[in-house]
């Protein structure tokens, strides 16, 4: 469209300088007028037939046309164009003046002159519209402003901790499946963390947790022996005690182990637990929880396997391995050449755990998983030292948005 309009305007511009064309105008009747009006700038191939020397207004009209078209072409804003329109076509405009002067002409001349003035009006009106259209589509030349390599002006924002981001992403995924988000207290006790979790008294597994006990609890047992929670699973029982099945919930949180730290061991780290309990949940349903976690973190389905594993609070219990994301399962240094990486424990809540929560294990089945988020984040981003998560170093934290 743009191209067509431009051509048309150009042709009009040439037209008013063209003698042959002028001659045609002078002698033209209504036919020629109609043709020009609809002619998309294509000139009718008419030649001069008659020139009337008495028509003194004709040169004036031609000069006016020439001037007005020049002015229109030079107008740079819509306001300018409008000013030209008012000066020419307004009630007291130049065209009205011309029409007024036609009254003095003979009837025959009046017809010719009237046609010429009308023609001028049409031509100018069209040129005004074209110019307005052209101005509307005109773009300023801003090329000197553009340096595509200049950095943008950054909005003042910061980020959440990378583990927090992971927790939020996982919560979103699980909430979309009607899982509730649960939180429990960080200071807990032996009863909740071990007794209810089916750890026999003096069982070595109690020691394997390397729990941080609170001062003042020496010699105390059960609920009076306070500790920082060594895992989240204990508080899962708190949830089960206070909620009626069926339920589905996730439980993100930080846990504490009293051990010496290095690049792979930290005293405070995050776990993410998910538990589903309903009437008919065979253990193979657990894949849903496992896949939801891994797919959320890695952004694609991850191949996993479940194998025998022992944890006092599940029966049967599983170690869940995922295919090594470094080598794709072919075997590499990271996965010690087995192609699989142990990623999380899981299993069916042990009947004693359900009983401790007042739930009849004969009527309810479920599945539970617990994944260490620090390790997942390390794998996801290639972080070499687990201690960075609690290092509070903004140079590290700011990289995660």
């Amino acid at each position: 469209m743009h191209r067509v309009r431009t051509n048309r305007l150009l042709s009009l511009y040439h037209a008013h300088c063209d003698i042959a064309y002028q001659a045609w105008i002078f002698g033209s009747g209504t036919n020629g007028h109609a043709k020009l009006h609809r002619g998309q700038g294509a000139f009718p191939g008419r030649t001069t037939n008659k020139q009337d020397e008495d028509l003194t207004l004709i040169p004036e009209i031609n000069m006016l046309r020439s001037r007005i078209l020049d002015e229109i072409a030079a107008a740079n804003t819509a306001e300018d164009v409008n000013g030209i329109r008012i000066n020419l076509l307004g009630r007291k405009g130049e065209l009205a003046g011309l029409f007024g002067r036609l009254r003095d002409a003979t009837i025959e001349d009046r017809r010719t002159l009237g046609a010429a003035v009308n023609n001028l009006k049409t031509q100018v009106t069209e040129a005004l519209e074209d110019r307005i259209r052209q101005l509307r589509e005109r773009e300023r030349d801003l090329s000197m402003l553009l340096d595509p390599t200049l950095p943008g002006v950054a909005p003042v924002t910061a980020g959440l901790h990378p583990i927090r981001q992971m927790i939020h992403d996982l919560n979103d995924a699980f909430v979309s499946m009607n899982f509730e988000v649960y939180e429990g207290p960080q200071i807990s006790n032996e009863e909740v963390e071990f007794d209810h979790m089916n750890f026999p008294p003096d069982h070595p597994a109690r020691e394997s947790m390397d729990t941080y006990w609170l001062e003042g609890a020496e010699g105390a047992r059960g609920a009076d022996r306070l500790c920082l929670r060594p895992h989240l699973t204990g508080a899962s029982a708190r949830y089960m005690q206070t909620n009626e099945p069926p339920f589905r919930f996730v439980y993100p949180g930080r846990v504490y182990r009293n051990e010496s730290t290095d690049a792979r061991h930290e005293r405070a780290f995050f776990q993410y637990e998910a538990l589903i309990l309903d009437r008919d949940i065979p253990f193979s349903t657990g894949q849903l929880l496992i896949q939801t976690i891994l797919q959320t973190v890695f952004g694609r389905p991850v191949k996993t396997r479940m194998r025998a594993g022992f944890f006092p609070f599940v029966e049967p219990g599983f170690e869940i391995d995922m295919q090594c994301q470094i080598c794709g399962g072919r075997g590499c240094r990271v996965c010690k050449n087995v192609g699989w990486i142990e990623i999380m424990p899981g299993g069916v809540p042990h009947p004693n755990v359900l009983l401790a929560a007042g739930i009849d294990p004969a009527n309810w089945m479920g599945f539970y998983i617990n994944v260490g988020l620090d390790r997942l984040a390390m794998m996801r981003y290639g972080i070499e030292d687990v201690r960075r998560f609690h290092g509070a170093d903004l140079r590290f934290l700011e990289q995660f948005r």
Binding site: V156, T157, A158, G159, L160, H161, R164, N171, V175, N178, F179, E180, Y182, E183, P185, Q186, I187, P200, D202, H203, P204, S208, Y212, W213, L214, E215, G216, L226, L228, R248, R267, I276, D278, I281, P282, F283, S284, T285, Q287, L288, R305, R307, A308, G309, F310, P312, E315, P316, F318, E319, V348, M365, F389, H390, A392, D393, L394, R395, L397, E398
Partner: protein, 796 residues
């Protein structure tokens, strides 16, 4: 725990063509985690039998140049400084490419030249191959003497000494619930079940020697069974090489014949065997708890250990061993007469004893997992079956035994529907029965119900209910053979958590406003705790903290923030951070109160006013973004030591105090060593803020007529606060629709003790568009009121 596959094969004929990796995978998937399956012959590659043909001493270095036959067409030359290696000796030769241990590390042997002579290998000592104690040595020097094998020179050492074996390294953590698997027989039973091949029971032999009173009183809570054998004529020689070799392969250093046999029985069938020197132990043997003040010097220790309350084995009431853990030093086997103990101890008492005396042994590791009592008999009979070969000439001269109770085999019933619904897969009854029978369970089907009796070795706490059978069937059917089952769930309501969504919105808002989240330890460094005005004895304390300085659990998030600020001031001089965590407030009774708090800090090099206003702006916007009632701010006293006495505000929400926003006090700044930065801190009690139940938005119709805005800068005495200005302006004229703060200025053109405030008026009418005159009149009215009421003057 290490296991020899060659040893396992005594009990199960594994399918042909099975690779070590496959065995490791199958055991890992169904039973226990195999950390490594190692072909140990690889460690002896390029190590062969060499016969010394000729030895000649080099003049210069006094080294020996040996000509050694390794079965190749020509002999090789080896330079050695070893003394007394005689021609004719068959010994170990390591050739280039062999691995030799040096200071605990394996190094690859290369060709070398000594004094112009090429040495094409080394005469290697047993220790250099990790074979210490296994191979006989020649005379006074330490070269190995392989003559007994009558091997051909060049024969592979690995082949010669049984080293063509796979050693499985099993993660002990995966075995804590399976006492039956702590021996070759146990793992063989699992492999037989996995591969569907029969289990070959161990060769046993009962003893028919005369009974003699060797045992006295046994404490019933410590010991379920105790059997003792008296053994005479115990030779000092070695056990047969195959036994020594097997023990060495699983990492046990071979010793005397009797000790090897005792160890062998334990690794073979899982029953620990304790040896006492008969000359050092007076009869009768009893088991009791240690008396207060009683001590015992343990084997391998120089000092006596306090054994009060610990389960002890005594000889005529004199302690001779910590029961099930370790013997006393005086009872170690010295003479040709020994007492052998086959006992079953209470797992908890063994565990406590082991922790009390600070000693863990192969025996205690097994006892504390709860071994079945019946295993004692298998242990004795296996010992007897091997005795003649292992310790030639030894005789059992007396036997005594007391069984206080046997392990009761667990009996249970399991409904097929129950089993199949939990498996999520239809298995035939026959397969279920088969799965259980091959691992020693008795199974009978009556009315769709399986009546199951677990073997004694699975009845010590491992298998207790029908739920345990679900796992047995599933793992032996193969976890890889179960497909995903989509859940069939009941949904009654949307999953909502107002608590966590409130917190999440707050965290996300802070991050979007330019504050970086940090996560800090819950224990705080004493220096920052005290800098914030808290004393350690006001806090909850960890009994065994990460460091003495980090014993207190945070009573506030401020100390941790100060530490974080100090960390980051090393790298930059302006930043904004926040953290969200529980704080711990000790109570007189019960556990500490735990409260969720959110705290943050704005840190900058200067412009304290700007930092304070930025912090306030963030908090004001926070309430709107998180659907909370608007926060209000009231000047307050310095309630905490970290709060500046002159610049502190209480944050209120819905009429409640919910937190504090303040400039960090100079005292805290100094103690925390943050003096080169200006710091504004806020903390909020998240439990005190209650979000609206749903979005709260107030709607007002947009104005019908155009509104006008007018900025006005006026100078006021500095005691005039913004609220005074706003109060004078807003509501004084119905045309004034709003009065916003724009800027505060103190500097050139503003007199001392004064400040210039720029405000923006919004003017409008509900009936018409205001003309210039009406606007001017309203603005003049505002100016007059501010002049008259607050002593303001228009700033030109």
């Amino acid at each position: 725990m290490k296991l020899s596959v060659e040893w396992i094969k005594d009990y199960v004929a594994l399918p042909d063509g099975l690779t070590s990796q496959q065995i490791a995978h199958d055991l890992t998937m169904s039973t226990v985690e195999v950390e490594a399956a190692t072909d140990i012959s690889a460690a002896l590659r390029h190590v062969v039998v060499g016969r010394i043909e000729q030895v000649e001493t080099l003049d210069l270095t006094k080294d020996h140049l040996m000509t050694v036959n390794i079965g190749t067409a020509s002999c090789i030359s080896i330079i050695s400084n070893g003394q007394g290696v005689q021609p004719g000796l068959d010994t170990i030769v390591a050739l280039p490419g062999a691995y030799l241990l040096s200071n605990g590390r394996a190094e690859v042997l290369e060709d070398r030249r000594v004094d112009g002579h090429k040495s094409e290998g080394v005469i290697c000592l047993a220790e250099e191959l990790g074979l210490g104690g296994l191979l006989p040595i020649s005379g006074e020097n330490e070269a190995v003497d392989l003559s007994a094998w009558q091997a051909m020179p060049g024969a592979s050492l690995a082949e010669l000494i049984g080293w063509q074996d796979i050693v499985l390294d099993i993660d002990n953590k995966s075995l804590t619930n399976r006492p039956d698997l702590w021996c070759h027989l146990g793992i063989a039973r699992e492999l037989a079940a996995i591969y569907g091949v029969p289990l070959q029971e161990p060769r046993l032999r009962s003893t028919n020697c005369a009974s003699a009173p060797l045992i006295g009183e046994l404490a019933q809570d410590l010991c379920a069974r105790y059997d003792a054998l008296r053994l005479e004529n115990v030779s000092k020689g070695s056990s047969p090489f195959w036994m020594r070799s097997r023990l060495a392969r699983i990492g046990q250093r071979p010793g005397s014949a009797l000790r090897d046999l005792a160890n062998y029985v334990m690794f073979d069938v899982g029953q620990p065997v304790q040896i006492y020197d008969a000359a050092m132990v007076s009869m009768p043997i009893s088991v009791r708890r240690g008396q207060p003040g009683e001590t015992l010097r343990l084997h391998g220790q120089t000092k006596s250990a306090e054994v009060s309350g610990v389960a002890l084995v005594t000889g005529n009431d004199c302690p001779v061993a910590v029961a099930g853990v370790v013997s006393g030093s005086e009872t170690s086997y010295e003479t040709d007469s020994a007492i052998l103990e086959f006992a079953n101890y209470d797992p908890i008492s063994v565990r406590r004893s082991s922790m009390t005396v600070g000693c863990r042994t192969e025996a205690s590791a097994r006892f504390e997992k709860a071994i079945d009592v019946q295993r004692v008999e298998i242990g004795i009979q296996r010992f007897c079956a091997l005795l003649k070969e292992a310790v030639p000439g030894a005789r059992i001269t007396a036997r005594d035994g007391q069984t206080l109770h046997n392990t009761m085999r667990t009996e249970m019933t399991i409904d097929m529907d129950f089993l199949l619904s939990r498996l999520g897969k239809r298995l035939e009854v026959a397969e279920v029965e088969h799965c259980l029978r091959v691992i020693g369970f008795d199974v009978a089907l009556r009315d769709e119900t399986l009546h199951v009796k677990a073997p004694s070795w699975r009845s010590t706490g491992d298998i207790t209910t029908a739920y345990d059978l679900v796992e047995e069937v599933a793992r032996l059917h193969g976890y890889e053979n179960f497909n995903f089952t989509p859940p069939n769930v009941t949904i009654t309501a949307p999953a909502t958590s107002r608590h966590s969504s409130k917190e999440r919105r707050m965290l996300e808002t802070f991050a979007s406003f330019g504050l970086q989240e940090v996560i800090l330890y819950p224990w705080v460094n004493r220096r920052f705790l005290e800098a914030s005005g808290y004393a350690v004895d006001e806090c909850s304390i960890l009994a065994d903290p990460p460091s003495p300085e980090q014993a207190a659990l945070q009573p506030s998030l401020v100390p941790g923030l100060l530490e974080c600020i100090e960390t980051n001031l090393r790298y930059r001089d302006r930043f904004a951070i926040f953290t969200c965590d529980d704080i711990y407030l000790p109570q007189d009774n019960g556990p500490p109160r735990q409260r969720r708090e959110l705290a943050g800090a704005f840190v900058g090099a200067a412009d304290l006013q700007g930092l304070l206003r930025r912090a306030k702006g963030v908090l004001q916007a926070l309430s709107r973004n998180t659907h909370l009632p608007a926060f209000t701010f009231v000047a307050s006293d310095a309630a905490n030591a970290w709060v500046s006495p002159h610049a502190s505000m209480t944050v209120q929400c819905d009429g409640d105090d919910i937190g504090r926003l303040a400039v960090l006090s100079d005292r805290s700044r100094g103690q925390a060593e943050l003096t080169r930065a200006e710091v504004v801190v806020f903390c909020l009690n998240l439990e005190a803020v209650r979000p609206y139940a749903t979005r709260e938005n107030a709607y007002a119709r947009p104005p019908m007529f155009q509104r006008a805005q007018k900025d006005l800068s006026m100078i006021f005495p500095d005691k005039v606060q913004w609220a005074d200005v706003h109060g004078q302006v807003y509501g004084s004229d119905p045309l004034i629709r709003d009065c916003e703060f724009v800027d505060l200025y103190m500097g050139a053109a503003v007199p001392a003790d004064h400040r210039s405030i720029t405000l923006r008026l919004t003017l409008g009418s509900d009936h018409e568009t205001l003309d210039g005159a009406a606007i001017e009149a309203a603005v003049s009215g505002v100016i007059s009121r501010l002049e008259a009421g607050l002593g303001g003057t228009l700033r030109c």
